[in-house]
Subunit: 333 residues, 4 copies
């Protein structure tokens, strides 16, 4: 960690700060420039509160040289992590397609979609049973019944299931869910993350709307530091001033995350854009950009079908897309 002191700091205050840092067990390397003094902190700085140091009156700025994340840091884990879900593998060259409806609506619906996406090549089934909604008046999912229908769809197709957990108290209901999803709004629900670190199930961690890559990695760190190493990261769009799309898909996050961490990184083009027509080009772009997988909304719902579309793709569109995805994977690998 590097601490840049302000111009004109008194020797006394400088000495006090150095003494305090040394008391934390650090060695201090002092470098006096023409205008400012720079302290290099040598040793384990992971428990130095960077915000506190930065806020001190005599400090101009602080810069971490070593990242504050360890469990998910590629520097210490050069090999890609491969997450296994039954026979499905994600990461380390294994590409996965996750598909299914936004919400589980009925047994019939989820079974039908599950069969369709399996036929198109999906390896995992997604479907929301507990739905976070901005408005208290909107449909919030079928909850336990939705999970039950997902289990039936898994039995019928053999596809492992991925579904979102919003409240740690619901964990008993998720006992046999194959992959537990943490939604964007819960990316910094630290108690939830810590609890999920204590179970033995892969976690699909979605990036929050206004969260940096470092914050995403620190949230993965919460899970991993508690003992659960099987974390899959997911880029799903960030909030910007964008006028036409719901969010802005930050695809460069994929290769950047691959540089910083050994965890697999997948992309959700459905939520990122909110527009069905943009899903296939963004799914292909994510694949070409090196993503380890995709999570895509596919529906067979009459009102959607009636009017020819939505954020979700129809099974036949997903099938055509899946074929292109496989062709692109052939080039990227």
């Amino acid at each position: 960690m590097i601490v840049v002191l302000k111009h004109g700091v008194t020797e006394e205050k400088k000495a006090q700060l150095i003494a305090w840092l040394q008391a934390l067990g650090l060695k201090i390397h002092i470098s006096d420039g023409e205008f400012q003094t720079v302290l290099g902190l040598i040793g384990d700085t992971s428990n130095v509160d960077m915000d506190l140091v930065e806020s001190l009156e005599i400090v101009d700025s602080v810069k971490r040289v070593t990242e504050p994340f360890k469990c998910c840091n590629r520097k210490f884990h050069p090999e890609d992590m491969v997450v296994e879900i039954g026979e499905v593998r994600i990461g380390g060259g294994n590409f996965v397609m996750i598909a299914g409806p936004c919400s589980v609506e009925s047994e019939e619906q989820i079974v039908e979609v599950a069969k369709a996406v399996k036929a198109a090549g999906a390896q995992l089934l997604r479907g929301g049973a507990f739905k976070p909604r901005t408005s208290p008046y909107d449909f919030a999912g079928l909850k336990a019944t939705g999970l039950e229908y997902l289990r039936i769809a898994r039995e019928e197709t053999g596809l492992p299931i991925v579904t979102e957990l919003m409240n740690i108290n619901d964990l008993p209901l998720f006992e046999d869910v194959d992959v537990i999803q943490v939604g964007a709004r819960n990316m910094q629900n630290f108690d939830l993350l810590r609890e999920l670190g204590r179970i033995d199930r892969p976690i699909l961690l979605k990036r929050g709307l206004a969260n940096t890559l470092k914050e995403l990695l620190m949230s993965a760190e919460y899970i991993m530091a508690s003992g659960n190493e099987r974390v899959i990261l997911c880029e799903r769009g960030i909030r910007t001033f964008s006028d036409y799309t719901r969010n802005t898909l930050d695809l460069a996050a994929v290769p950047m995350l691959h540089q910083l961490t050994h965890l697999p990184v997948i992309v959700d083009p459905s939520h990122a854009t909110g527009i069905a027509k943009l899903v296939p080009p963004m799914a292909m772009a994510a694949t070409a950009g090196g993503a380890d997988g995709l999570i895509i909304e596919v529906h067979n719902d009459p009102i959607h079908a009636l009017c020819d579309g939505a954020q979700s793709l129809r099974p036949e569109d997903f099938s055509a897309l899946a074929e292109k995805i496989r062709a692109i994977r052939g080039i990227v690998q």
Copy 2:
């Protein structure tokens, strides 16, 4: 609600959509323009899923004419809400100063700060016992012990206490906390909001880093629709590309919220800027801009004191600021 159809929609699809909307109990007013057809939906549209309608293939865009929030909508509650906490009142012309340390660190510290801020004119004491931290390795607060120290400080000074609840399972520990704070990261933790709607305690709801005013109001709606009307909104900075300050304090949100809702709106200049020197000017700005109160970090901690500052103000700075705040209030009212 207004639904703008795409150019060249077939009569058949248009009729299907209209039939579907009518089945929801709405009257439809059709207006054919040169390029597009516009449907005016008359009736209770609060349970129409706007996202779903917008995503339909034949729909160009959807516009709500009536806001989706009701409990917190000034249109239906023209009078300012006044939230009472013991003898303290917020809103409706009652201005309140909330002050205290970022974290409760010891009994001695919180009592000392409480006395100092009371002397300077603060009416409520803040202090974090459960602290959300980006890193799992950072200090996360004294938890139950911290709450205990807050109670002692309340006894010593008579100041009601405000502190953050992160996990609904900790609610029993907060039984006699005067105001429960929902932090920015939990603004869309919908299960938490719903539970807080079932208790009889004022809630201080902080705006999330990337949340719009509408989303903030919808979160207040979650609490209020569950039965608890005593919600205080708090602007604490949003995430932008800003290079010098931690967040960007969105002060125009204060008068805008006052137009949209009857709930009191306070401002947190400490977290918004992250820089002690910017706290007094932004606290004065917030007051002049019409805020119903301020929540400010004040410390007496030796390492801070040693180095002359932090995001937190020292008691003497807070005291000088409080005097200016009162003078500005005299002009604004």
Copy 3:
């Protein structure tokens, strides 16, 4: 255009507004809802000042139903525009690779890079002679001499040249430049755009750092409405809170722009990310996402070479990338 009036507007004010709108030659369709009145404006609304109407006291909000852009609107030009530069064609299924150094540094450098990128399959040569720099103390390009070296490189390789014009007074120097680039910082330099609309040369228009797609299209409209229809749009990253990359590449803009306009859309992955290692994955992603071309920085400069990289690719990396790009094009088309 749809004008939503506020709740409780007096009949008198409503009548005044309607009379004023009718005086602009519009037919008004009135729709009274339970809470608000909605006016549908029928006729040519392109010269109604939407901001002005929205700002009126009795108006709640205004929504354009027909976009304010015409010359570049796909609704009126369903066929893709193909821009021709000598024998090179962009758009309508024609994909183009533009490559070259950030700045022209010497005759030797630009000729060498030009030969290398031609060998790798680039069809156009880029190179900055006039460089916009944030600091007045940074190198601002070789100017006229740089243009001279570009001409020499064109002669040696046959590659048409693309270079940025910052100041309309420099136009005479650009007389035989094949494609004139308008940089992101000049996207709303309206006088410059209008002047470029009067010449007969293709314009490469880069999206500004904080500009919406609508604003980008309105800037294209400035050029086209002045008579020059040959505009190529370029997505090059927008400014967000991103912590690792310089900007955030908004790839969904590509298919969205294709829906809105018939103009070709290319992508600049070099400026969008600012990191050489991210250029190949983002170039491949842009291709898979349907871009009509790429503009990529390639260098052969010793200090870069010395230290193995930069935002720019080395010729051998570009050559390997170009091969992958061609393979992906085979799938996308």
Copy 4:
């Protein structure tokens, strides 16, 4: 300047980089940490291209210790700059109110508004003759005629005039304009800035919609380094995800800029919010936050008057506001 090298850099590459930096006349201070090597660059680093160094393969990150701006840096100019316009003074404790219509529309209009704002206490008259418009079809100002009307209004009232220059070729028309405004969209029109550095007139430099404070200061540096020291900075809102206001007024920029530079800083609450009702609270907030002045839109235009408002205030509202502003100034000073 501090250069952090990547983990595992070879001694050879490190030596090459150091040699290259030494060749630029810098002394290098090497600090070897456990994981990384840090180079401290001592000497005049203002002409080191930080982006280039940061992009080198062996470099992890670069941090400037001394800011790249000099002419406008408070470190070298501890005293506030006072800009004089006739008898009006801005900065160093001198507060100024600038008011007038968005656009000059007629001689009658501008003279009437000028008299009204003078009576209310404004010291300078604003009014747009050349208007930047997003759409080529919108009204772009009366141009030379507008300037002529402004001169008449100055004659009638004695108020110096402030108006925007968009194109350096129009400079001859601005010969006797008292303060030349550079609009937000031209903040990085570097040729324009350089030219304005060669004239002897105060420049009002507005912050761009997506520009950092550092970029704003670098643009001021362009003007000052060319010889014109009389620059007034203006915060006028930045682009964010905000849903109700046009832009987000970044008021913390005011005290932050005061820390970084000795130049005066004023605030434009009219453009920042785009909503007349928000102008008074934000004008008061800016004053309480320490701004050196305000620039506010005031109109007397019939269509506005008809409908009771707009982004602009009516003269009577401005007059009431001006009184409150003066009262707040009494407290802030």
